[in-house]
Subunit: 155 residues, 6 copies
């Protein structure tokens, strides 16, 4: 049976850190679906459509990696619809870890068959943080060092 | 002299984790007042009135546990008005701990006679987090596993 | 019914931070027993006997605060023997918090009627750490700023 | 190709928390090898032989889960010998997370093809900590609530 | 060559904790420029103009400490304009530390010659937190214990 | 006046992470003295003499960087003897940060004129941890990726 995993996130924007997570996850799973979510409480800097196209540009020629967008839906529901019993999350720092642990445990409460797998990036990507990338972009800085194909992103 | 403690929070919503804190605190204090605050910087998902009625429904028949709401008032002022020299706070994770420590220390600077007591929930409630409960509720998920009498809450 | 609490620790040595915890706890509980433990895995710098006499010297004239020593016994057993259903612990930093949370939860698993209450010191005592006090003492430094009656302690 | 993962640890002792990690990992990997290590810097409470037999007793009838012991060998070397390109680690708290992240990143530096996968236990196992289990055992407490088949373990 | 450092922040408001950082930094650097930033994502409680005048009032007679305001500009750009290759940041707690580490590392990626220096306040200022000071001020509390010349600040 | 700083540590062994800290510190200070300490509670893997010669080999031709060893002496005493009012410490993770903050604050209590300056390494060195390097070395692994001139170190 094919092992399918969902990598959900707002990806505002998708960074080289996220790419590094996908690269590691693709050794473990047979198929990976990147789920780009509309965040209900925060405005995103880049439009949902632009974020999806940006990620598609990175994986255009990579087999077994797909991109979907979703909104007003639980992550565990999306997993069920997609037949993906695994959720992938990258861990960068302690703050991430605690929040992700709670979400993983609550998702498991909602759907007992869904498990979350955590990966840490290689050290050279550890400091890349979408929040700070957005701040740099808003203040006119160049983000190409942190984001592949950054020219595709539209604010 | 009766030992009276205030358990302040936004309780948006009041979860089984909060219930577990109250259960432990009621062994220590003679009377507990649950203070439901209007958060000045964030919009709440459930109305203040609905949050108060929800908590009242849980403790309707429990003696020595009361519910009040407050806004535009310091927590230490509310303590003084209520004759409650103790503040109860639940600690779930590291992020909580650091913020709560600063608030406890600043409250003690403002009113030297007020002390804060911290409790940790039993492990099975450790992951229950109001922020994630709200996300589940907003996305149409069922929150009854995490919140007693959740049908009373009105968005 | 009198509310009795145990404050267990190795107190190697008992610092002004611990004193600050006792001062806060004495507002909440009717009687406090300071339990000085023999640590099974680490050698202490100050002898168990010296640590007990040091703490007794600090509370010689304070009613309702007692000192006992214990070894080869679970903390929850000591609580049961002493009729103390509450455990007091001071929280200084994140590392403390996580370890203390696990111990509190495991103690509660072992004896369901025992609850742990956490207190944070006032800011001016937050940095006082027995491990560092020991290092200073071992290297010939003066520890009187951090430890009351430090001249009583014998290595 | 079969996906084989190593779950290394000192397992002094193997707890219900570790069991929970194995249960989750067995959904992801085709074969899991539990590697019981001799810790070079700390004395273990239970003998290496006893720890191995204890874990074997738990998985005696479970297919695709094996137990090996190792000493004076890098974890990445053991992976290579066993043909296991994945390392499984459980994350319980923040302290774990930071140390595990460094080890995972250093292991990846040593052998670029080896990836570490992190799992978090379900909330009811989150507080179970081998260090505290050892303390309980040393002080004569009963550890059966935290360790399956604990009667097999020999100090 | 004169060593010039920038101390950037939103300083909403500038607290006694920030003063303590400046006092320490002034022993290390020859000249310090306090850069008051307009935060692009959060509304400030005190106006930018009021925040600048408040800090100027504190350092009116101190040589080698200057105040500037900036907006829509990267911190590293401001450093370059001012000829300040050092950034000073205060560290209060773990949450600060992780975010500050990422920002320092990303700033160093953007401009390799810029280094960030971290200082921790003395213990008696460790709990002073601008976010909590703002909450106190919004709810009508007195902030003079935490902020020098607080009467100058205008909401 | 020349600004002299002490970089104290056990350096068991001195890694590329430490080198990165020195490189940054040398932009701030005029002279740096690396103080190699004998740890009173832990056995070191590499001899004190070997650790000193190893570090000297790295900075043999670098002006204004010196190496000393010390034992049974407080760090602040060494600072006073050397005329170095600044202490440099590298911060890698949260656990480091909390311990280092306490030590910095206690050192400042002991000698009010001594200040500690914290630096974070560049991301590619963030995971290099002497404890893990020692584990690798003890188990026969090659540490040349993490330690310059590692062939000079003698166990």
């Amino acid at each position: 049976m094919k092992k399918i995993a969902l990598f959900p996130g707002s990806f505002d924007p998708f960074t080289k850190g996220h790419e590094n997570v996908i690269q590691k996850a693709s050794k473990i799973f047979d198929e990976i679906i990147i789920g780009v979510g509309e965040n209900s409480t925060k405005n995103s800097l880049f439009s949902l459509d632009s974020r999806v196209r940006h990620i598609e540009s990175i994986y255009a020629t990579t087999p077994d990696i797909y991109v979907v967008s979703y909104s007003k839906k639980l992550t565990v529901e999306l997993c069920t619809e997609l037949g993906a019993p695994f959720i992938i999350r990258g861990l960068r720092d302690v703050k991430d870890f605690e929040y992700e642990r709670s979400i993983a445990q609550m998702n498991h409460s909602l759907e007992r068959h869904i498990e979350t797998v955590f990966l840490v990036t290689d050290p050279e990507f550890n400091h890349i943080n979408s929040t700070i990338v957005r701040e740099i972009s808003k203040n006119g800085g160049v983000i190409a060092d942190f984001v592949t194909n950054s020219e595709i992103l539209v604010k």
